[in-house]
Amino acid sequence: MCLGIPMQIVSIDGFNARCEAKGVSREVSLFLLQGEDIKIGDHVMVHVGYAIQTMTAQEARSTWELLDEMLAAEDSDA
């Protein structure tokens, strides 16, 4: 659960943001990032539907590589 998923913001409406990662689109809350300057195109670390911090595109990519490996390992999990 603590792993979190990096996503990119595609639109913002108040505290709600539509975010995308690898073609999957989700509604994400920005309530925990009040006071931060957040823009469309930014990457955020999403945990149980809430963005907990902003991050760089580079950091998002390396986390995604890790998640891909984990998913592949889970699939072959007996």
């Binding site: 603590c2 509604e27 309530f31 809430y50 986390t63 999990d77």
Partner: protein, 365 residues
């Protein structure tokens, strides 16, 4: 940027003579370590210990029992993070022993992936009571706090089993037999709470510590840091996840946590009470406390209430006292398909992680 193999080369170049036991306290760390095979890649003097990093594993058995009772007898919609559904409680043979079994028997139990879904379900069912059984560490409790502060419908209440991570480490260090001599601190807990929370490891216990992210690169950087700190006898709290972990953490998240919850002494399954280690609803949110709304559904007189299942060594696994495969049931009576204890149920449980990354049962005589 350095790659994993560069960090490994650096670690192997260190002159490590004394055994080093590095503990992590995060299921995500343990999964990365196990999946990347870091245990075998490191010099043999370096041992990696999985510590208290699984909120599902330490969620009191009584709380799971109460959730099952609420779902079965109070007619509520019981929502919980998916991991909680398969956690077994100690009941007589034939009785419902998990939320999953309660669901199969017709109770309205729904797995959710976000607190926002709990609110939606409550809004869609205004005539029903909805109970959100919420277990988790700071990273999960901050979103739960956000959910509360944003406003929740009257028919939604919380069965809260939130825990703080650092007090369990403090408890181990204060016990005089910590069982580890360096700490890798959890990256996303520090993202929310700030790295400073972990300073006590260095300042009070003179133990090397480093906050790590979840990639092998970040984890190896943290391991290299604590090893060097130890060799040079210069401890400091290193931050090997600076992309997300800022001084002071996430101030909005901390503010919301402080508003929504009080910090209290709390029970950890199989371990006991750890001082100031749990979240309880602040008085302003008492109206949404499922324990107050449905007080009749707890039964502490029950046989084996609160304990681990018979034969399950989860408590010692959680504390890093033994490796998962040292449990006699590991891989024999207990597998992800037929889990005996919570450590084999949860994605963050060390038993589950070891099994799913290929550690097969050790031979016991």
């Amino acid at each position: 940027m350095l790659e994993a193999k560069d960090w490994l080369a650096r670690i192997h170049a260190l002159n490590i003579e004394q055994p080093m036991r590095i503990m992590n306290v995060c299921g995500g760390h343990e999964r990365s370590i196990s999946m990347a095979g870091l245990r075998t890649a490191l010099p043999k003097q370096v041992q990696l210990i999985a510590g208290p990093g699984c909120p599902v594993c330490v969620c009191p058995e009584e709380d799971v029992y109460q959730a099952i009772q609420l779902a079965v007898h109070a007619g509520v919609i019981l929502v919980a993070f998916g991991d909680m559904l398969r956690v077994p409680v100690n009941v007589a043979k034939g009785a419902l022993r998990s939320l999953e079994q309660a669901k199969a028997a017709g109770a309205d139990v729904r797995p959710i992936a976000s607190p926002r879904e709990a609110v939606q379900i409550a809004q869609q069912n205004p005539e029903r009571q909805v109970v959100f059984f919420a277990a988790g560490f700071e990273t999960t409790m901050a979103p739960v706090a956000a959910m509360l502060l944003e406003g929740v419908p009257d028919n939604l209440s919380l069965l809260l089993s939130g825990r703080l991570t650092w007090p369990a480490v403090a408890m181990l260090l204060d016990s005089g037999e910590a069982g580890f001599n360096a700490l890798v601190a959890p990256g996303h807990v520090a993202t929310v709470m700030g790295p400073e929370e972990w300073s006590f490891v260095v300042e009070q216990h003179h133990m090397p510590a480093a906050v790590a992210g979840f990639t092998p690169v970040s984890l190896l950087a943290a391991m290299y840091s604590v090893l060097r700190q130890s060799l040079e006898d210069k401890c400091f709290l290193d931050n090997c996840y600076p992309e997300l972990v800022k001084p002071g953490g996430n101030p909005a998240a901390r503010r919301l946590l402080a508003k929504a919850f009080d910090v209290t002494d709390a029970n950890w399954r199989g371990i006991g009470i750890i001082p100031a280690s749990g979240y309880a609803l602040a008085p302003a949110y008492a109206a949404h406390d499922a324990r107050l709304r449905f007080p009749a559904y707890n039964d502490t007189e029950r046989k084996r209430a609160g304990q681990m299942p018979p034969g399950c060594d989860c408590a010692r696994v959680v504390l890093g006292r033994i490796d998962p495969d040292a449990c006699k049931l590991y891989g024999t009576a207990c597998t992800p398909k037929y889990p005996v204890g919570p450590c084999m149920v949860s994605d963050e449980g060390a038993c589950r992680i070891w099994w799913s990354t290929g550690v097969r049962a050790a031979v016991h005589d």
